[in-house]
């Protein structure tokens, strides 16, 4: 599964992304399961709000963290996220 660069990306309504105080981590919750996220994955997923496409997410994150050259990492992660059903397009 690949990300369509022209479509916006949104976090799946069938999952929940939330900060867990006890674990000091962001997690994805879904029926009978939980995935613990590292900080960068969580930052990427928080951008998946249905208003931005891939390029916009990359540029927003580059700006936010004052960095460049992270497009490949972000794309790779979003592809995993899409395959796992954590995000959706259109």
């Amino acid at each position: 599964m690949t990300i369509n660069p022209n479509q916006t990306i949104k976090f799946s309504p069938m999952h929940r992304l939330q900060w867990e105080e006890a674990q000091q981590k962001n997690v994805i919750l879904y029926p009978e399961g939980m995935v613990e996220l590292n900080q960068s994955s969580a930052e990427i997923l928080k951008c998946c709000d249905g208003t931005r496409n891939l390029a916009q997410i990359v540029s927003d994150l580059e700006q936010k963290f004052a960095t460049t050259g992270i497009a490949n990492d972000i794309t790779a992660f979003l592809e995993v996220a899409l395959k796992n059903g954590w995000i959706q397009q259109n």
């Binding site: 867990e20 006890a22 029926p31 395959k83």
Partner: protein, 375 residues
């Protein structure tokens, strides 16, 4: 006490709230204890709220409302709302019996995250026979309504000898109903399933064939439907890592408030399971005799204590060891290294003989009358 000190105690992540033993269905594989009828008292709403609050504070995040049939509790929406306010991800584990569209909407508004509906078979006749109650058409309606109102829909089918031949139709039905998740749970032989084992345990050939069909289907629906396939450990040569290790992850609270490291643990002798009416969840989890009983590895006997796989499976299931060998400290007899491993083959042979017998004895249905009779 066995394994009490110096063990790194991890906080609970999963809370299973068995709200009630009351259930309009009579599944002969029900995981409730055989003697459930003698536990009549139920925690009240305030008790449950306190339990949810305390467990959440320790780090529990996945919450299952189960039973019995949790819908028989009038305060379910109130408990769901409390759970949502605390930040739980809450699951309703239901037979679907008594679930109306109005209730589905009400629970959604209260903050319920998903509904797991169990169906007993792919045909009305068999479903209603196994459930001991006419319920098939209603369950299908419920499944549609769950989808309609935007919940992830989890369909759960418990697999055993009476329905294993329907595997292709069960998969078709799940697809037709639009299940997002399908749990194919091969029967685990505790509680009522243990009592009915001769009638429920499939043969190896039946099991292999069903598994093949399910695996092929899994590939076909990849990305659309997730399938959780629970293997029947009788046909494995290593036991399951039961509960991810005793009191490491899972906390079950029985209807009367008894706290259990696994839902069968109250059948184990001498554990003195604590009640949430007397202690806080933190005291129960960290300090009680019961929760420390099988923590770590010190309690183990040979062959487990010197086994290099003990960190993988923790010696298997304590309840299964007790049920099948009479010794709750023994290796799970499913393990081929267990000196009691032969009891598994005996169980398989006995089930096969029962299937071939001219007059197979009838299933014992889960109801209060049978519960009193058997305990």
């Amino acid at each position: 006490m066995a394994g009490s000190n110096k063990i790194n105690i991890t906080p609970p992540r999963w809370l299973l709230a068995e709200l009630t033993y009351a259930c309009p269905l009579q599944c002969p594989y029900c995981a409730n204890p055989i003697d459930y009828a003698k536990y009549q008292s139920e925690l009240d709403t305030e008790d449950w709220k306190r339990v949810l609050t305390q467990a959440r504070k320790m780090g529990a995040v996945q919450l299952g409302f189960s039973g019995g049939e949790p819908l028989t509790r009038k305060d379910l929406p109130e408990l769901v709302k409390h759970a949502r306010d605390l930040g739980y991800y809450s699951n309703l584990i239901t037979s679907g019996y008594g679930l109306t569209e109005e209730k589905i909407v009400q629970l959604k508004e209260a903050g319920l995250d998903h509904i797991q509906v169990s169906i007993q078979a792919s045909t009305q006749e068999l479903n209603d026979h196994i459930a001991g109650t006419a319920s098939f058409e209603h369950k299908k309606d419920v499944a549609h309504l769950v989808k309609k109102h935007g919940y992830p829909m989890v369909l759960c089918v418990v697999i055993h000898r009476e329905n294993i031949h329907q595997m292709p139709q069960i998969l078709e039905m799940a697809e037709e109903l639009g299940a997002d998740y399908l749990e194919l749970a091969n029967t685990q032989y505790y509680g009522w399933a243990h009592a009915n084992r001769d009638l429920l345990l499939p043969t190896k050939a039946q099991f292999d064939q069903a598994e093949q069909i399910a695996q092929a289907f899994k590939e076909k629906v990849e990305g659309k439907m997730k399938i959780y396939y629970v293997v029947p450990d009788f046909y494995e040569d290593r036991p399951k890592a039961c509960m991810n290790g005793w009191a490491t992850t899972f906390l079950t609270i029985a209807p009367d408030g008894v706290a259990l490291p696994c839902h069968s643990a109250r059948e184990l002798p001498g554990l003195d399971c604590p009640n949430v009416k007397d202690y806080s969840i933190e005291q129960i989890w960290n300090e009680s005799k019961t929760f420390n009983f099988f923590r770590g590895f010190e309690w183990m006997k040979e062959p487990c204590s010197s086994c290099d796989e003990k960190e993988k499976d923790f010696g298997g299931c304590r309840c299964q060891a007790y049920l099948l060998s009479g010794d709750m400290y023994a290796a799970d007899p499913v393990c081929s290294k267990s000196p009691n491993h032969h009891v598994i083959q005996e169980a398989i042979d006995s089930a096969k003989a029962s299937a071939l017998a001219d007059n197979e004895k009838p299933l014992i249905f889960r109801n209060s009358k049978n519960s009193r009779l058997l305990s």
